[in-house]
């Protein structure tokens, strides 16, 4: 035991006596480990952000985004009944489209029409410009949104276009910092809305929101789509009777166009996602008289594509990190080879003084373990720091996981161990007199 301790002590001494060499040796490990950790952090971070986006958009969704061509808008505002326009006239995305989609698509689970109104909310002397969004209850379900207070819209609210709303968390904090907002009223544009619910805060990075083209849900006011159609009249000429008709199929209000900004459809089976989106595309094209004033996106398929690209990217990163570890290992071997003559002489001397093979092996083992441990630790620190730096400067999400640290550490120990052991095993195999004779020959050459 004492002997092992002494071998350990000898090893430490050897390391500290050759600090520069030890540092150079450890450098390969340091950069290798750092590269592996940073690489895994970037890869894992990208994966996480895709998963986060998946969660944000929900699964099996098809998003239809309406856009109103500017000339159309001008034409419609000047004369609503002018259908003899040379350009094909389209009513835009309407509730009728929603009804039609519900009729046609077989494995449809839910439809969530959205209608966006940019307005400002006023209450108790506070004013904030925000978006009022006309939705149905399906919206909350499709976007995985929960309420922290109150209730969703009731059937009665929707059917009658009642002036009610559900507010985002940021809106509550702005307008109702201390009081309970449920039952209170808030003025949006020209309409007073009674608050029936408050949404849970949705935590999402602004970057992923931006990528998906999703608004920040927290600062919106949500009202039933019927209320939006009925009470925010600039969008469409609509009467209470028309709303009744909306929910009875086959109504035909020509004045009622460009109702919706966005329509999200959820399909039951992801297998039919692409097929359903194709059907929806054809259906809308027909209904809109060959005028494509909408855009159909299947976010999930886009994300899957993105994920595949990411995987390729990760693989390339892994290869690069692997190569850097290998190069580090070769660097170690290089340095070891340069000092191998010196070490062989030392082994010869020790053997002539009565050290057996085990002593020598222990000494070199301790030396190798110590340097790879220190190098590995520095590498871990460097890797974590560089992962954080990348995250903050390049704006790439990085996640450092425990197993990535362990993996790189293990790799480094392994490579280090093999490369360091090389001179040790080489000289242990030779007889002590040979390692000494080798040295003597070296002496005669140098002198």
């Amino acid at each position: 035991m004492q002997r092992i301790l002494f071998n350990f002590y000898i090893a430490m001494e050897a390391v500290f006596a050759n600090r520069l060499r030890a540092l150079l040796t450890a450098l390969g490990i340091i950069f290798g480990v750092a590269a592996v950790i940073a690489m895994l952090a970037i890869g894992y971070g990208a994966k996480q952000s895709i998963l986060e986006q998946m969660k944000l958009i929900g699964t099996n969704n098809i998003a239809i985004k309406a856009f109103v061509p500017e000339e159309e808008e001008a034409a419609s505002s000047s004369s609503t009944g002018n259908k003899s326009n040379k350009k094909p006239w389209s009513p835009g995305l309407t509730m009728e489209d929603v009804a039609a989609i519900e009729r046609v698509i077989p494995n449809l689970e839910k439809t969530s029409p959205e209608m966006e109104i940019s307005t400002s909310a006023i209450r108790a002397g506070k004013l904030q410009s925000l978006k009022c969004v006309g939705v149905t209850n399906a919206f909350f379900e499709l976007n995985n949104l929960e309420l922290s207070q109150g209730n969703f819209f009731s059937d009665w609210h929707i059917r009658n276009g009642r002036p009610v709303c559900i507010i985002g968390k940021s809106v509550q904090i702005k307008f109702f910092p201390e009081e309970n907002p449920i039952g209170q009223t808030i003025k949006c544009g020209n309409t007073w809305l009674t608050i029936v619910g408050v949404m849970e805060r949705r935590v999402a990075s602004s970057k992923s929101l931006e990528q998906l083209g999703i608004r920040d849900y927290n600062s919106d006011i949500y009202l039933p789509v019927s209320t939006a159609l009925l009470r925010f009249k600039n969008r469409a000429k609509i009467t209470r009777a028309d709303i009744g008709n909306q929910f009875n199929e086959g109504s035909n209000t020509n004045d009622n166009y460009h109702q919706l900004d966005r329509l999200v459809i959820r399909i039951k089976d992801s297998e039919y996602l692409q097929a359903s989106s194709d059907v929806v595309a054809r259906l809308l094209k027909r209904r809109h008289r060959e005028l494509v004033d909408y855009e159909i996106q299947v976010p999930e398929l886009l994300l899957q594509q993105q994920q595949k690209t990411q995987e390729t990217f990760n693989f390339v990163l892994a290869v690069i990190a692997g190569i850097s570890l290998l190069v580090g290992g070769i660097g170690i071997m290089n340095i070891m080879l340069a000092s191998v003559l010196e070490r062989i002489k030392e082994i010869g001397i020790r053997r002539s003084l009565g050290a057996n093979k085990k002593d020598i092996i222990y000494q070199f083992l301790f030396e190798a373990v110590f340097i790879s441990l220190i190098g590995g630790l520095i590498g871990v620190v460097l890797g974590v720091v560089s992962a954080k730096t990348i995250a903050s400067y390049a704006d790439i999400p990085t996640v450092v996981t425990a197993w990535s640290i362990l993996l790189s550490f293990w790799c480094s120990s392994l490579s280090r161990f093999n490369f360091w052991n090389f001179p040790c095993s080489k000289s242990c195999k030779s007889r002590p007199d040979q390692s000494l004779a080798h040295r003597l020959r070296m002496d005669s050459i140098s002198s």
Binding site: Q2, A14, A17, E346, S352, G354, N356, L440
Partner: protein
Amino acid sequence: MGPSGSGKSTLMNLLGCLDTPTSGKYFLSNIDVSLMPDDDLAKVRNEEIGFVFQSFNLLPRMSALENVSLPLVYSGITKSKRLAKARDVLAQVGLSDRAQHRPNELSGGQRQRVAIARALVNEPSIILADEPTGNLDTKTSNEIMQIFETIYDAGNTIILVTHEQDIAAHAHRLINMRDGVIASDIQNESIVRIQQ
């Protein structure tokens, strides 16, 4: 003695258990060491034999004292005892004041004396010296031979390889080698007596 290539060093390596014979046997204190496993050979080298080399072969990182105490490490002696003993032996070769110096801070003669101290520290029965004065000037060579004389008088066997006639003149038995065989083996006591 003998010209280079005559097999002196090979014989030395065999005697020192650094090498094992391809044929034949080597009995050391009535034990056949030619067939011993490595661990036992290491033990024999540690306890029975002290080595002195032409190029000193001290470990450059260590102080003189640590170099001298090195064989004791491998015979498993505690640190305090090790250092005490190493200090004694260093005093024997007259280097007490250089104990903390590293080999590169010592002169050639001093280095060789450290090497001799290292060979002596485990109280071996045989000291093998392979051209111990080969790298030294005449004056220091004489000093080193003086130390060997003292060790000899204390009862140790010293086997010394040399090229130089006047170094060989110190020996009591002179073996001349040529082409791997012993050419002559003569008692040299008359010379010794004359010198005395």
